[in-house]
């Protein structure tokens, strides 16, 4: 591979248009969201040590409100999209499926959607059963 090809080979998933571009953009957006969530998550889990059991349980009660359950579902989608697109990237790096980018992408997304369905069923069931207030 020439130096010029090397330079552009792995930037923006190769093609700055179409499906590959969107996969790259959404992967990155989800990744950045998850970095912020990680630190928020560490903060919430440390509430038990900072404020005691009751403080933590009060925060968790808020997370049972409908709005938070739906936000949580959005978070699950961010994890699944980032994770399954990441599986595709790892497979590409191993040389698996490098001639069939689009098929690989949609296969990974199909797995993500099936997994998401389980979480969505669980979350929507919870809202229907015990949900009440939005906030």
């Amino acid at each position: 591979m020439s130096a010029k090809n090397r330079e552009t080979a792995n930037v923006g998933a190769g093609n700055w248009k179409g499906l590959g571009m969107w996969a790259w953009i959404l992967f990155r957006v989800a990744g950045v969201v998850l970095v912020f969530y990680l630190f928020a998550h560490i903060g919430v889990i440390s509430s038990a040590r900072l404020g005691g059991h009751h403080t933590m349980n009060t925060i968790f009660k808020t997370f049972d409100k409908t709005l938070f359950v739906l936000l949580d579902l959005l978070l699950v989608w961010a994890v699944l999209f980032h994770g399954l697109n990441g599986v595709r990237i790892v497979l590409m790096d191993l040389g698996i499926g490098i001639t069939r980018h689009k098929a690989m992408f949609w296969a990974c997304m199909a797995v993500a959607v099936v997994c998401f369905a389980f979480f969505a069923y669980s979350a929507l069931n919870f809202i229907a059963d015990k949900g009440g207030a939005w906030l």
Partner: protein
């Protein structure tokens, strides 16, 4: 060398490899983490619920592994995003890596401190 410069702009070989290794650990770890919290314990999340889970050595090992792996993966990912747009000088890149390592180690220690009452049991 041109190749060295290009490899640096991609974050280096070891960071690339560790990003892949932590990715695989996170796929497996998050499957366990999300199923046990979002499906098995939905609506039951509480201090005692976590205590119940962390009474098992499996979940303690899983949570500590996830904490370390996710911090590395997240901060290295943030580094890759930053390097795509900013910081071209070598000294700046080094400073960024050092800063992110400090944040990561501090967050890992803080996370362990937060989990300690459950781990101790």
């Amino acid at each position: 060398m041109r190749t060295d410069v290009l490899d640096q702009s991609r974050g280096g070989m070891w960071a690339w490899l560790l990003q892949r290794i932590t990715a695989v650990l996170l796929i497996v770890g998050f499957a366990s983490h999300l199923i046990s919290t979002h499906i098995m314990a939905i609506g039951e999340l509480s201090y005692d619920n976590i205590a119940h889970r962390l009474a098992s050595g499996f979940f303690v090992a899983m949570d500590v592994m996830l904490l370390a792996a996710v911090l590395y993966h997240a901060l290295n990912g943030a580094r890759m995003v930053i390097l795509d747009y900013w910081l071209s000088a070598k000294a700046q890149r080094r400073a960024l890596s050092l800063a992110l390592w400090l944040v990561g180690v501090a967050a890992f220690i803080y996370g362990l401190w937060a989990l300690w009452p459950w781990i101790k049991g």
